[in-house]
Symmetry: C2
Subunit: 559 residues, 2 copies
């Protein structure tokens, strides 16, 4: 009978333990967790904070209303769980884990044959100084979510500053506003929200969504320090000289792999900090596996290792660890980093690389941008989707997709995820067969269209311009929209206003060497006209990707 | 300058013409259409009938409010459109199309270099006799949708019989009830709705949805005849001896390829009726292409030809025809028949083969069934999804998926569509990386779980039982649900009621040769317990796929 110790009782650790128990019921398995609970749905914390999820322990409860605590694991899963228990030392030579109970200070040695490190991630220490305070919290520890909610329920929180515009920061911003009506400041160092995954023009859509809900979004803003003043308020000093005084501050400046224990037994880590594992998620130390947010995994597009702390991957990794320990053929090949977030009904999703991450890869890439209805425009509930596709120029290989809107977003990011993970090209997007019916799809899906735009750009030279070029294009704009559309938004600068029915007459006598940017409302008319201009011999012509509709989102934001 | 004639002005024809014009602006292109309109969104007709779409011509209008009529095609697209024009003859030797204007009877010859047949589909003539009447309509002709709506608006339609429970019949049933409150009878010959794509147990979910909305669904019921009685009402005589008297009858008994013109010039058709084309959608006759509902395409799973009349495919086929005529490298490889429908908020989607279609293929397949939350169960708006996965036993190749529910359905059918079209296996489902966030996903997606269930079934012998076995299993049921769950639905027959925490104590002394069906609410607990039973040495054990929750839908229906 083999003894297995799993350090860390969240997604990866619990999955590894339960799956292994199913495969090897005779194994004795122990999960050790420092926190007072295990198998806790930490991804649900923002929704507990917002009030959508009422009960804290709902995040650790089965669908049949059983709390996943020590008793549950013992009685239902036949797995021993030690909560409130910290591992102080590992002796890998003799295969012993040394633990201490944080409440009783009782020390205990546990022997193992196989060890699983599922120690997760920990918050990155911010670079600015701040006073330790009950009102300056990270949102990594679930107990802080609880602390916030208790405070919010007393009505004592009128204002909150959230430092860091990543996923947690953005979700938390919604949580503050939606039920509690808290004055919220979201402060981000870079020029965009979700800076790891989005480019600025798509992030701008999200910024606009948050600002429409009266969230104060500060971009390109560094925090210099946080000081607790005499009345107990937090004063957040910004590098622009401003300061914000709030009742509470959340520090959401990201997480990093928690590898303190791994290093204790000379487990190799990557430069960037995560535990090094092979495709069976074995570490370099015999009989030691690792899974979840403490490891680095292969990015299936670049082949490079990356830190990808997502609960979905943690679950799949836990499964692979269990199968590997049980001696089954299994592997975890890597990921393309597919992700999404939904705030105030607006979904932003991405997969693969973005222009920022590409700059470090030395790949020759191109982009196309599009604005689409998610179902036929005649359907009363059709929604606008915005998409940006990035592909490798030479091979047409798919590199990244960013897609946003209030409608059918998730299906297209999921499909892109599949193609990208299989080294697909833009032709795969063109051939993608989606489930079409007017209640939830257009006959041509956004992926079909983005793929066709990419092929037109590379093979036919019909160039798609970044939506932000509307603002700074130094040639002539050819606006092919109808008068009624132009009335609702007039382009500025050197503009020829015509229409899709009339532009041929206008351009036929124009100087073919002039630089033209064709614009319309969403893109297709401008694409068609740009193609015709090229046919007539215009040398420098492109069309505005996503049309006025996408560019306007960004201009509005700037206003 | 080449002359191109396109016969048929709906999705495939218009797409071929407009795409070709963009590629070859110098070509002269003519679209000939018998109806008074072109580029009409026929898939939107049920939503026009229901009142969701108010204006008939909205189905032929651009997003910038321009009706896609002859003038639009001339001025905007530089394409000639002849509506109300029938092709009476084709002389392919001299490349001449003979036409007659249905309103003026003017005859006209049109020469071509390239011909595109996009003649679509036509309603299948029903096998039962009926009187020709203004109140017995097909729903293929858009003008019949208009006719219905005019009648409905006068309040003169109190009851409708819809004959045929395919996609149109089902969508139409919703349309009758949702706004108009019409007493509706839906009569289907087979034992299920959407008989081409669904198996009975998944169709049952749809039947229940419709019956909950007071639609009278008759299954396994043939119409013997329709007689118009003296008061002008329709009397629909059924083979069970009943008759239904309604104000209006819609005959929705399916469509078949419209190949009358194709046959005139010896274009080859398939046994099943559609035009035979190669991967560039060329017919056997030089310079004649075909696209849309008049052709047969390759089923990418079986390699066999099939008739797949979907607007999404028609668009993609039109594009390929244009590219082929323009001399570009292009192809249309085929389809897996991905489809979906949404009625009363309930989505049913499928792709690939079902058990009925498989019976004609001689493939050795297995199935698994599952019930899932589409997002974590702690999220207040998580929805139940039901799924049935079919795969080839020997190779684990994906053969079909049927999935239904009120939540995130479309993404999973789209992803399955991609894997199936690339000859993927159940392992691809396990490795599928979806966009996880609690607002719209669970950490493990239904596809991850269905894939894992299939592998457990094939490699470990953990057998998933069809939900309808709950009703007719002749061994012992082992119910591992909690008492509170059992109270809400008690299994009948030879049942051992225990719980997931206690079943180990119960089974350890039981006779290992007995036949066991383990059941729980959704499936996972029963799966786990079945696996443990097998470990203990039980020889005949399986678990109820999708749990009581799926089986109950079907039982409720029968009540």
């Amino acid at each position: 009978m083999k003894k297995v110790v799993v350090i860390g009782g969240m997604a990866a650790g619990c999955k590894a333990a339960t799956r292994l128990k199913r495969l090897k019921p005779e194994y004795s398995i122990t999960i050790i967790e420092k926190k007072p609970f295990v198998s806790f749905g930490t991804c649900g914390m923002p929704f507990y904070a917002s009030g959508d999820v009422e009960d804290f322990m709902a995040l650790a409860t089965t669908p049949w209303d059983m709390v996943r605590d020590e008793h549950f694991f013992k009685n239902v899963k036949d797995i021993q769980v030690l909560t409130n228990t910290e591992v102080t030392k590992i002796n890998h030579k003799d295969k012993i884990v040394f633990t201490v109970n944080c409440q009783t200070n009782d020390e205990k040695l546990i022997e193992y044959d196989y060890l699983v490190l599922a120690t997760g991630a920990k918050p990155v220490k911010p670079s600015f100084p701040y006073t330790e305070s009950e009102k300056i919290l990270d949102f990594h520890n679930p107990l802080n979510a609880k602390k916030f909610k208790e405070l919010a329920q007393t009505g004592k929180i009128g204002s909150v500053a959230i430092i860091g515009g990543g996923f947690i920061g953005v979700e938390l911003a919604e949580a503050m506003v939606s039920l509690w009506g808290i004055e919220t400041y979201l402060i981000e160092l870079t020029d965009r929200l979700l800076p790891q995954t989005l480019n600025k023009e798509i992030s701008d859509l999200l910024v606009k969504t948050l600002r429409n809900e009266d969230i104060n979004v500060y971009l390109e803003t560094a925090v210099e320090s946080i000081v607790v003043d005499d009345s107990g308020d937090n004063k957040v000093l910004l590098n622009n000289g401003d300061s914000i005084i709030t009742d509470l501050v959340f520090i959401c400046t990201g997480v990093e792999p928690n590898t303190d224990l791994a290093k204790m037994i000379d487990v190799n880590t990557e430069k960037s900090g995560g535990i090094q594992v092979d495709e069976q998620l074995r570490t370099n130390i015999a009989d030691v596996w690792a899974a979840g947010d403490c490891i680095e995994i292969k990015n299936l597009i670049t082949g490079n290792l990356s830190f990808c702390p997502l609960g979905s991957l943690a679950n799949r990794e836990g499964k692979v660890v269990a199968e590997s320990i049980a001696g089954l053929a299994t592997d975890f090949k890597g990921a393309v980093g597919t992700n999404s977030v939904k705030v105030f009904g607006f979904i932003v999703a991405s997969a693969g690389l973005n222009e920022n991450s590409l700059k470090t890869c030395e790949m020759d890439y191109s982009c196309v941008w599009g604005t689409f209805y998610d179902r036929p425009d005649y359907m009363p509930d059709s929604k606008i989707l915005f998409g940006k596709l990035i592909y490798e120029k030479k091979t047409l290989r798919l590199l990244g997709l960013q897609i946003a809107g209030r409608g059918e977003v998730t299906r297209y990011i999921d499909v892109f995820s599949v193609f990208a993970s299989k080294h697909g090209t833009v032709n795969d997007l063109i051939e993608f067969e989606h489930a079409y019916t007017p209640t939830h799809s257009s006959p041509m899906s956004p992926l079909n269209l983005l793929g066709a735009m990419a092929v037109s750009q590379e093979l036919d030279g019909i160039i798609c311009a970044n939506p932000n070029e509307l603002d700074n294009f130094d040639g002539t704009l050819l606006d092919v929209r109808e008068q009624s559309e132009i009335l609702s938004f007039k382009c500025e600068g050197n503009v020829i206003e015509t229409s899709i029915a009339n532009y041929r007459n206008i351009i036929k006598d124009m100087d073919k060497t002039m630089s033209l940017l064709v614009v319309c409302q969403k893109g297709p008319r401008a694409y068609e006209a740009a193609r015709y201009c090229k046919h007539l011999g215009f040398e420098k012509v492109k069309y505005l990707g996503g049309g006025i509709q996408l560019a306007k989102q960004m201009l509005d934001r700037a206003e």
